[in-house]
């Protein structure tokens, strides 16, 4: 705002229009207008002039040095450090002393890559050209690298180059790997062999059919319709007039008429059969005799035991014999167990072993020459079953479904809940 004296209207409040009109200082603007007019009159307008016309570049050195501001020692040190870092030349790392590593070989380019690739591809495909059973495949470390054999062994085991000793291989089965088909399965069989073979298959099939039928019979109800007790009663009472209150009495008002029925129903007289005196006597006598007999037998046994002292030799013999027999039996059991393990199917996994069905041809399908033969069955199927039979593969089955023990909650919005709206009357 303008400084100095305020005159006239300017003396009043500044925020009214009156002040804005009269109180403003316009000296500066007048000066500027005057200056410009003067410049125009003299011929040159400063604003339009170029820099070179206005100024002169001073090229003479000034003797006076610009005085640097005094700094503390600490500030100076920091500055120096910065300056040093900026000005310092970048120097490469010193070369390593000693052997220098060779530069990696030039990687092949272009056609050379393709040529190399061919070599690698062929090497992989090629069949083995050495005898595994005569060449030593155990890995080893050359002696000049590691002289201590124990350490080498340990190292190889840790890096899994060398395997530990194989666990003793147990024979899994005694069954033959390839079971040759029976004579009846020949493409041109002898009639007897063929008959036997086919009859055996037919017998198995019949067994299957029978078992299926048995199950069916068990499931179906024996009579067409099962009549209930009530239906039977109604049938029996057909045509009879039944009092309308019949049957209702004992169902509907058992509690109210309880006292009344108690009086009417007569319980049967409790009969208590008692033995006669003679019978009692007889029984007591029999018991006495029994006791006597038992005592007698006990005594006899005791006496015989006492005689055993003289039979010790024989008893020893008997015991020895028994022991021997027991041992033999246990050996037999062991043998049988092993044999079972090696010849029978074990339960491996959840699934059930299903043997492959023997393939066969009907009599009219047996053409008798190799050209028109109709192959039956599949070798792979046979192989799979054979592997399973020899306990080499587990048989997977479906997991048993768990029965739900708790019921799931379900939210249901009932219709009459929906009808209750704001404003509805509560009864």
């Amino acid at each position: 705002m303008v400084a100095g004296k305020r005159t006239g209207a300017a003396k009043g409040s500044r925020h009214n229009k009156k002040y804005w009109r009269k109180g403003t200082n316009i000296d500066e603007i007048e000066d500027a207008i005057h200056n410009k007019a003067r410049q125009v009159a003299t011929g040159v307008v400063v604003e339009d002039m170029k820099d070179e016309e206005l100024f002169v570049v001073d090229r003479t050195a000034s003797t006076k040095k610009v005085e640097e501001p005094t700094r503390t020692r600490k500030q100076q040190a920091a500055l120096d450090k910065i300056a040093k870092n900026i000005t310092k030349e970048q120097v490469s790392l010193p070369k390593p002393i000693g052997k220098t590593l060779k530069k990696p070989a030039k990687l092949p380019r272009g056609n050379a890559i393709l040529m190399n690739k061919k070599k690698v591809g062929k090497a992989v495909k090629k069949a083995p050209k050495f005898d595994v059973w005569t060449t030593d495949l155990t890995p080893s470390i050359p002696a000049e690298k590691l002289n201590v054999p124990e350490a080498a062994e340990h190292f190889l085991k840790v890096v899994k180059k060398k395997q530990p000793k194989t666990p003793g291989k147990s024979i899994t089965t005694l069954l033959p790997a390839v079971e040759v088909a029976q004579g009846g399965a020949s493409y041109n069989p002898e009639s007897k062999e063929y008959h036997d073979y086919v009859m055996k298959i037919a017998g198995e099939e019949q067994k299957l059919i029978d078992s299926e039928q048995k199950i069916k019979r068990g499931i179906e109800p024996q009579w067409e319709k099962v009549t209930t007790e009530h239906e039977r009663f109604l049938e029996m009472a057909e045509g009879l007039r039944i009092h309308p209150k019949f049957g209702k009495d004992d169902e509907e008002h058992p509690a109210t008429e309880g006292t009344a029925t108690e009086e009417t129903v007569k319980s049967e007289p409790v009969s208590c059969e008692r033995m006669t005196k003679e019978q009692k006597k007889k029984k007591a006598k029999a018991a006495g005799l029994e006791k006597e007999e038992k005592r007698r037998l006990d005594e006899k046994a005791r006496e015989q035991d006492s005689h055993n002292v003289f039979r010790t030799k024989q008893i020893h013999k008997e015991l020895d014999e028994e022991e021997k027999q027991r041992h033999e039996e246990s050996e037999d059991r062991k043998k049988k167990k092993i044999l079972n393990k090696l010849t029978k199917r074990q339960k491996l996994g959840r699934g059930k072993f299903v043997d492959a069905e023997e393939p066969f041809l009907l009599q009219e399908e047996l053409t008798g020459n190799l050209r028109q033969i109709k192959p039956q069955g599949h070798v792979l199927d046979d192989r799979m079953k054979s592997l399973q039979r020899r306990n080499m593969l587990p048989i997977g089955g479906n997991k048993a479904k768990k029965l739900k023990t708790s019921l799931k909650h379900k939210i249901v919005e009932k219709r009459n809940v929906k009808t209750v709206v704001k404003g509805s009357r509560v009864i």
Binding site: K129, D131, Q163, V178, A181, S186, L348, D382
Partner: protein, 531 residues
């Protein structure tokens, strides 16, 4: 001091066994990888004797393994390869999504592969043990060689199966060790004797194999993967033993590149041409004089004689196979017997009108026959091998109903009905059939005729004759009666437990006898009718 408070399930079956789930956790593998590892390493599950104990109180049916087996598996370096493969798949997925083809290519080049050499040696420490396990390997590989390739069955696997099986058959031919064959409706069974081991395998018929649904191919593929590695080594060793080049070479020595060509492969797979032998190995001719083996080593001498007769069976004969015959099987057997085989467009370039053909194998009725050769049906070749000699060809002519094809693997029991043809065959194989023959029940007309005593005619009318003393043939009567009585007594002595078995055996003998008798009578009638 004995531990007073020993915890449950810290000893015995509970520790000796490990469930599959536990094993997976221990090895940090997925089920798929674990299965593969077990098959490759030959580790099989076991059912514990005390299942409840092993299962820590539960009776659920689980798959159990020996703990020591699983501990052994943990050291297998292949496990790391499995893990690498998992990483490889992840990277591949990543790059595929980004569509970075160069990197994918690079990744494929560095695909982790594992080597089964050490495992083959570990599972089969000796060559003999590998030979004993060949049955499975051959049957699977022969079948796989016929399958079409799919996503699971890689082409490379099928090719190598084809190659290895062809190589094996070449070995059998060169060593002439095939012994038995049997054509069943399932496939053709073969049995060879290599290094004293009987190796049996089955080859499916050369038809399109039907589709199977309930076979887990991933499992079988893993088996085949291992068997391919094993068969490679076995073949190499077998070839070395009899001085052949491995891989097999026909005629002159061929370069590796040429060996890869389809033409050359076809030639090898056809089995028709003999393999080249190495010159540095001297051929040992096994011409052991048979009289070296004394009379006592009868079985051995028999075996040697049989082998010799098989080796020279088709020597000097030239076989021409008609179009419809199964070439591989026939070539295999004929060349095993020392014959020469050819067919139209085959590698031996035998023309159908060639003069030196001795046998022409045909499986359809022929109208134009040449004079100077024998025409036979394919079954003749198979039956010849089983009979160990050249059978007469009359019954095997084209258009004639063939005699039945018997299995050489079944053994006859005394007392059964054995058809005449089979008996002949057995006799020709040099087996002692007298026991079998004597056990066949005799029909009434075969029994030695009891001479009817010619009774002097009684003079008619009343007459008087000189009285005769009643003579009892003492010895004979007593013998038979006593024998019968003794038998009865012995039967009475049988314990009750065994009595039932005895009687059922007796009845079954009787039934079999009756059956055999009936069949024999029938056969006789048929024969009589034919004549």
């Amino acid at each position: 001091m004995k531990d007073k408070f020993k915890q449950k399930y810290t000893a015995g079956a509970a520790v000796a066994y490990m469930s599959r789930k536990q094993a997976l956790k221990k090895l940090q593998l997925t089920l798929k990888d674990f299965r593969r590892l077990c098959i490759i390493k030959g580790i099989y599950p076991h059912e514990p004797a005390h299942k409840k104990q092993a299962n820590k109180g539960s009776t659920a049916n689980k798959v159990f393994y020996y703990r020591k087996d699983i501990n052994f598996l943990a050291h297998e370096p292949i496990i790391n390869k499995f893990r690498d493969y998992k990483v490889f798949l992840r990277k591949l997925n990543h790059l595929k999504a980004k569509k970075e083809d160069d990197k994918i290519k690079k990744l494929y080049d560095n695909k982790p592969v594992y080597n089964l050499d050490t495992i083959v040696k570990e599972r089969f420490p000796t060559f003999g043990s590998a030979l004993r396990d060949m049955d499975d390997a051959l049957s699977l590989c022969f079948t796989f060689a016929m399958l079409p390739h799919t996503r699971v069955l890689k082409e490379g696997m099928i090719d190598s199966c084809r190659k290895l099986t062809a190589e094996f058959m070449h070995y059998v031919i060169e060593s002439q060790s095939l012994r038995n064959t049997f054509i069943s409706i399932k496939g053709i069974y073969y049995q060879a004797e290599i290094h004293g081991e009987k190796i049996t395998w089955v080859v499916p018929h050369e038809r399109g194999l039907p589709h199977v649904t309930d076979v887990d191919f991933t499992v079988l593929v893993t088996f085949v993967e291992f068997y391919i590695a094993m068969l490679g080594f076995v073949n190499f060793k077998l070839y070395q033993d009899i001085g052949l080049f491995y891989p097999p070479q026909i005629g002159q020595v061929v370069e590796n590149d040429e060996m890869e060509s389809e033409d050359y492969k076809e030639k090898v797979y056809s089995l028709a041409k003999p393999l080249a032998k190495r010159k540095d190995v001297e051929q040992t001719e096994e011409d052991e004089p048979l009289d070296l083996l004394g009379e006592d080593s009868d079985a051995l001498a028999q075996k040697v004689r049989e082998a010799k007769s098989i080796k020279t069976m088709f020597k000097g004969s030239v076989f021409y196979l008609n179009r419809e015959c199964p070439k591989e099987a026939l070539t295999f057997i004929i060349r095993n017997g020392g014959g020469v085989v050819g067919w139209e467009g085959g590698p031996t370039e035998l023309k159908s009108d060639s003069k030196n053909i001795t046998h022409h194998i045909v499986d359809r009725p022929m109208d134009k026959l040449e004079v100077n050769r024998l025409y036979i049906q394919p079954q003749w070749v198979f039956d010849c091998l089983n009979a160990r000699r050249k059978l007469p060809t009359e019954r095997y002519m084209p258009g004639v109903a063939l005699p039945p094809h018997f299995s050489p693997f079944t053994s006859e029991k005394a007392g059964d009905y054995i058809p005449f043809e089979r008996l002949e065959e057995l006799r020709s194989m040099g087996k002692d059939v007298s026991e079998l023959e004597s056990a066949i029940p005799k029909t009434m007309d075969e029994l030695p005729m009891r001479r009817k005593e010619v009774k002097p005619e009684k003079p008619k009318g009343i007459h008087i004759a000189v009285g005769q003393m009643h003579k009892k043939s003492k010895e004979k009567f007593h013998e038979t009666v006593e024998k019968g009585q003794e038998l009865k007594m012995r039967e009475l002595m049988i314990s009750k437990k065994h009595q039932r078995v005895y009687h059922s055996m007796k009845t079954s003998f009787k039934r079999n006898r009756n059956d055999a008798l009936k069949l024999k009578k029938k056969a006789k009638l048929v024969k009589a009718a034919a004549v």
